[in-house]
Symmetry: C2
Subunit: 463 residues, 2 copies
């Protein structure tokens, strides 16, 4: 890989100079060289391997997530980062129990389901009822309650496969809201076609409405069907008109458990009070080992920051802060805790970004900054673009855990990964290490190291 | 598809004449025309859809397998076949219970496993023991008992992906024997890397030593790990040397239940006592809906025989007998029952074959006949070859359920399907209808209809 990377970087440096405006050619040259070196390193993949093997699944608020924090603290310290610490917070804890469904009439047979995060239980005997299908959340909302009363509602909305993940928002909408709307209509339970893009027989879990938004809402018991099972149910409904189904879900909810954000820094020098925040989330769903979601992000941002630290023994101008968020999956609880705990400091957050979209290669560098700072912020992505990313728009989310600090005014950028296959694995038992190509992680580490280096050493502001 | 098929058949008829020796050009021309017509029909796929939807999983000896027989009798009668009947037989019935495994030390986490068919139970509390890994069944056989005593043995043998399925025999060997060898060595349980070729997180079930071979053997509790979980276990063993694991399996075995073979015929005319047997198996494993194994085979042979029946209202020379075997998966129990029940008639079985290798296209036509009848038997595959199959050797198995009648001297042929992807799905929950391309089923129906037509109307013998 070495010689190829060197050649690429020699070439791209020449072309990328044309874009560099608020950043000196010398800084950009160093960023390109750093990316070239980072692309040859395997620390990013090694970290994903270590996290997914030595901790495995790490559901928010559980003992497994606590072990993930210990793992992170230990790794960040031994890699040489400063101010490694946990910022703990409390949250309600939901844990999966039995999950089981069966068509009882006609054509008795089991179906593959998984409870949605936050689902209420059916009780150990489950519920048995006739199924009524709706094609979308809108159709559910519009349905007369008399058609839903006493029924198991099946929301059969298909998610669109896209590179940018734009199919997710619509599909996740049904996951978030179906149980509550079904409850209002008098239904006894709800099944959704999994929010996902694969035909493999995995049901995709995921949180219902955010804990941080709705402390009190309950909803009917809610589960996702795998795609083949949704097809099967639809086929039987189409040919026979009526299906009776029994489902059992026994999740438990505890009022409070502990989670926390793990934080580490490369202390800045001339502008040590200015912060470049790079994040990923440490928690995962319980079904897989959280490799693409979000072990990959953890490996990428930590390995990229390590490259920057090693390249600058004198320290960067600004402080680089790594935040490995806890409890992302259950409703951005760590993100909210961070924004609250650091409210006074947010004006000193110069730019922030999170890696949380799998292990695909970066194809777009996008911003969410003041209109007159777009070019300056895009300059932070000059090497990223040279690695193959297009220039994106100025509506970046920056990643899910950037929500609250972005809303508080922190400029964010997005190193947008190719998510074409991401939702094949997302929130399923199949999210395991073997699905990741180490070369893709190295590409991401190269891109992120250049971005971190430039953001931490530039003197621009993006508000 | 129509015009493409017509063109292909016009062309291939010209070339295939050169091979035709014991079969008249006129017969072969009709077979080619029949295949062309069959390739445009969707009955084969419709039957797979119906069986996998309306019955779903159909484990040998269960009520679900009984419903599959009802389904088959009903369909075969309404399609117009004659002498539709069930030939029942008894067998011990094994049913899956809870299956669950967890690494307890180091790195506690769940693993995806599935019990092997015929496994003994661990009891509801399971077994917890240190894991000892062996690379192969040979290594297990050679291991000193003191290294295995009290341990959970992990047999980490990788199956080779091949077109012809030749990787299966070796890999299935460990599935069949590991529990018994481990028991001899004093182990408490055995885990095998799944016999399969996919990295998706499904464990592949399958029968241990055949019921028909070993009534009395017991063995230690035995399960298969999914490939990602086998990787995970191997990784931890490699880095930490020692792993403790808990596993729970609660299958139950009943001494006797009912199964049966479903039989239907197209009565012959001049040579009505001569039988051309075409088969598939009706039972499936309980995890998936048995689409590629062996719903596909059921759809293919029934649809192909239907084509022959419709093309010859006067009836073929010989009797065509469809046999949908019961209890194949648990040890060819239906195959043995058929061979016993029809022992007197086997000398009148002119040629036989089974479709039981998924829904892939046919790439080879092979025989297992008297040395001096190879060309005559290959002539039965002239149209099959024209559809893209190569001429194979003379060591065909003819399909698993052909074992006992082949051993009793019945000539068999193999319409060998491309099995490159078959073991990705085989014996997993992921064996569902959506994995089948209807055009591939149509190709198989075309090939089989030509073979059946030629075998039923030729006057050759192959012993
Ligand atoms: Zn995520
Ligand atoms: Zn997620
Ligand atoms: Zn089979
Ligand atoms: Zn099978």
């Amino acid at each position: 890989m070495s010689s190829r990377f060197s050649l690429v970087f020699t070439l791209l440096f020449a072309t990328s100079l044309a874009y560099a405006q608020p950043i000196s050619p010398r800084l950009e040259q160093r960023a390109a060289a750093l990316a070239g070196k980072a692309g040859e390193d395997n620390l990013g993949y090694a970290l994903v391997e270590s996290l997914t093997t030595e901790v495995g699944p790490r559901l928010a608020g559980t003992e497994a997530e606590a072990r993930a924090r210990e793992w992170a603290v230990d790794r960040l310290r031994s890699l040489g980062f400063s101010h490694v610490r946990v910022e703990p917070f409390e949250l309600p804890v939901w844990e999966r129990g039995v999950e089981w469904a069966q068509i009882t009439d006609p054509y008795p047979q089991p179906l593959v389901i998984t409870a949605l995060g936050g689902s209420t239980p059916t009780g150990p005997d489950g519920v048995e009822a006739e199924v009524t299908a709706v094609a979308s959340l809108e159709q559910l909302s519009a349905a007369p309650p008399e058609n839903m009363k006493g029924k198991i509602v099946f929301v059969d909305e298909v998610m669109t496969r896209t590179q940018d993940g734009s199919g997710y928002g619509v599909a996740a909408g049904k996951r978030r809201a179906a149980a509550y709307i079904a409850e209002e209509k008098g239904a006894v339970a709800v099944l959704i076609r999994s929010v996902g893009t694969s035909q493999h027989r995995f049901a995709h879990t995921g949180q219902m409405r955010r804990l941080t938004e709705d402390g009190a809402v309950r909803g009917v018991p809610a589960a996702a069907l795998s795609a083949p099972d949704a097809d099967q149910l639809q086929r039987i409904l189409a040919s026979r008109g009526s299906v009776t189904l029994r489902m059992v879900l026994t999740p438990q909810q505890r009022p409070a458990g502990m989670s926390g954000n793990v934080i580490a820094e490369i202390p800045g020098t001339e502008a040590a009070d200015e912060i470049v925040l790079v994040g990923a989330h440490l928690d995962s769903w319980d079904l897989g080992t959280g490799a693409v979601d979000d072990g990959a992000g953890v490996g990428i941002v930590v390995a990229a920051a390590k490259q920057v630290m090693d390249a600058m023994p004198e320290g960067p101008r600004r402080t680089v802060r790594i935040v490995l968020f806890g409890a992302e999956e259950v409703g951005l609880v760590g993100a909210q805790a961070y924004a609250q705990a650091h409210a006074d400091e947010l004006e000193k957050h110069i730019v922030a970004s999170e890696s949380d979209f799998g292990a695909g290669r970066i194809w777009r560098f996008e911003t969410n900054v003041a209109e007159d700072k777009i070019d300056a912020a895009q300059a932070l992505g000059s090497v990223v673009r040279s690695l193959g990313a297009a220039r994106g728009g100025n509506n970046a989310s920056g990643g899910p855990d950037m929500k609250y600090i972005r809303e508080a005014g922190v400029p964010v950028v997005g190193l947008k990964q190719n998510g074409w296959d991401y939702f094949d694995l997302h929130h399923t038992p199949n999210d395991t290490l073997d699905k990741i190509d180490p070369a893709d992680i190295a590409h991401n580490v190269a891109a992120w190291s250049s971005f971190i280096f430039l953001a931490a050493n530039a003197d621009g502001y993006y508000r």
